[in-house]
């Protein structure tokens, strides 16, 4: 008798958490679980701003998938998903044979949301995956090296524009504040030559955050030389900088866009209704109209009691994975499933190595204490997917 097939797409927070919990809870011969991912590794998206700045080695933010999977419980396929077909319950891959499923968990990552800004996709960098952030880091260092290697001193080589002052934007700027003095030292460049500019279209930094914490962050970063252009949309990104609304041009060799994400395009391509590529899932995380098609992570859209969408976060994706794995086990065993509700455990935004801001245990925290809690949070994730041994291995890096 054929076992029920569970196919999980994407080894991000949501997909990987679903998979490791399934392999823990399921007995042999209860289901055939397959995880598909483009790379042989999981990367910790919430840490990517650090290797992007060069403050942490990329390997800190990466976990070999094989090292956290039990091969007798889960089959891993390294491939690119090219299509999902919910009518025929089939997933197409770039290299391998199509996969049939009884239950599909869609956890494929987001795509950058450019809000139609001209030239952004072509000319900006995105903090999106491991290859991308190594590229950003090397690009920035290359520009620093180029500055003194050229006869003509081009200040644009030392100008970095970060588009977006949301979570990722502020965390990235915080890392750069730590990193730039090191780069200046390494490449014999006076610190005052380097400009670090954070541009945000919204009227405030870190929209949705507590104002007192926002003020702390802005003050902290301004003191360390960050220039803020708030309430200032970027009109265009060119190959030599950005044009702001109103016409001001900033010449910058490095432009990194952190202004937003949208859902994975494969969902729209499958004919599913989305908003910015995200699917408004039901309370069981199902795509409306399908009993067997679940979406977790950045491609899922969930509303709070006031009817406003929750921002996509690692915290939510992790909870979704935990919750969904329980529901799937129950379904396989003929039981009932429980609705999912997001439960905020607080939010911490780092401001470089030594500081952070946020809410933890219901209280506002700032500075080195917040920074420590943030680090503990990283370790917790490693513990959840790979146990103590993975946690200790990463904590040493």
């Amino acid at each position: 008798m054929a076992l029920p097939k569970i196919v999980v797409l994407g080894a991000g927070y949501g997909g990987l958490m679903t998979t490791v919990r399934l392999q823990k809870e399921l007995n042999h011969h209860e289901a055939e679980v397959t995880l598909v991912n483009l790379n042989p590794y999981h990367y910790v998206t919430t840490k990517l701003h650090e290797p992007a700045a060069g403050t942490l080695p990329p390997d800190y933010a990466r976990v070999d998938i094989a090292s956290v999977l039990k091969q007798d419980k889960v089959q891993f396929i390294q491939d690119r998903v090219t299509k999902v077909d919910p009518e025929n319950k089939e997933v197409s891959l770039a290299e391998g044979e199509p996969l049939k499923y009884d239950y599909l968990v869609f956890g494929l990552g987001s795509a950058p949301e450019t809000f139609g800004i001209k030239g952004l996709l072509e000319n900006a960098f995105f903090i999106r995956n491991l290859n991308g952030v190594r590229f950003i880091r090397e690009h920035m260092e290359y520009m620093f090296a180029k500055y003194n290697a050229l006869e003509e001193k081009r200040d644009d080589l030392l100008t970095i524009v970060v588009g977006g002052a949301g979570f990722t934007g502020i965390e990235y700027v915080g890392e750069l504040v730590d990193r730039i003095p090191e780069l200046c030292q390494e490449f014999d460049i006076p610190r005052e030559k380097v400009r670090l500019i954070n541009v945000e279209a919204a009227p405030t930094v870190l929209p949705g955050f507590d104002q007192e914490l926002v003020d702390y962050a802005v003050e902290y970063l301004k003191e360390r030389g960050v220039e803020f252009y708030i309430n200032t949309p970027i009109e265009e990104c060119t190959d030599d900088g950005v044009v702001l609304k109103g016409g001001e041009k900033i010449d910058a060799a490095t432009v990194v866009w952190t202004g937003g994400v949208r859902g994975n395009p494969l969902l729209e391509e499958a004919g599913i209704e989305t908003a910015r590529g995200r699917v408004k899932v039901d309370e069981y995380l199902r795509v409306p109209g399908y009993e067997d098609f679940f979406v977790v992570g950045d491609s899922s859209l969930i509303f709070n009691d006031e009817g406003r969408p929750y921002p996509p976060t690692a915290q939510m994706a992790t909870q979704q994975g935990q919750h969904l794995s329980k529901n799937l086990v129950s379904l396989l065993r003929g039981g009932s499933i429980e609705p999912y509700k997001f439960e905020s455990k607080g939010t911490l935004a780092s401001l470089g190595r030594g500081s952070a801001i946020g809410i933890a245990f219901g209280k506002k925290v700032v500075g080195s204490k917040a920074s420590f809690l943030k680090r503990v949070n990283d370790w917790r994730w490693y513990y959840m997917i790979g146990g103590l041994s993975l946690m200790f291995k990463k904590a040493k890096l």
Copy 2:
């Protein structure tokens, strides 16, 4: 009464050695010694291939000039020399006032010799100074990072062409042989994707070297994946590779030219007769026709007993500096001067971290023993200019 003015141009091997010996030998009020250098640091040219490959931190190859000068004996001016005028005994600087001299020591560095190869100056990198080698290292790493960040896999990003199989070319290739596996690991690139190609117009690698040693070096490098194109002139260097004589094109994102150097152009511009920019100095290292104008290092041309020119080396520049400083002291004290004769102490060429080839104490040496002797040689230079403290500081790096 005005003191005799000695002006030393360039803090390379020749200029710096002259200066530190003068400050050691001269008493106060015997002369006014001024050293002019573009950068506030001396760089160890024979080590530049290592930071260029990324195998050693650039700071290993750099010495702060202030740290080896006695300020009460030598005045240091950081500036660019724009002109020497031997008729008026004057040196012009880019920023500061012109300097009058009674004795001039010209030790300014060489310029790349391109042999008229089209596009080389515009498109190739040169192992020439600290800013330049940091640029090479960052460029190479950037290309590796770019490879996986692009959708399309461009093999030219992973192709490195080193033009010239002389001393610097072979030493640089040797470092790259060590460095490339590290880069492959760092950027998730299979080693076999990377091509390292050494192109040489002459019929042999390391012309002038003992054949048995040359064979050892070639074998060692070939085993580690180096492709040699010997007896193959480069016709043109473009922005995307090189065209070889006969028309073969190699697509390469990184082209480093090590094929030769010429003397500093300021000498020709001063109306002095040169051969490839180098001055055939007399036996006292003087420019023919001048009693007070000495040239040391790469811009000086000296012939052996068979009438063939010695290649410009750090060893010779160092000896010239030692010798010239003695002659200058003697001149100041009304004594006579001695002719200079090059005395070879052997030659060692490194093949990366673990191996080298060469002649030491009159014997052929290869492998780790030669590599150790090469390292001792570095230390010796630090000892000569900065004593034990500098030597130990560098040995730790």
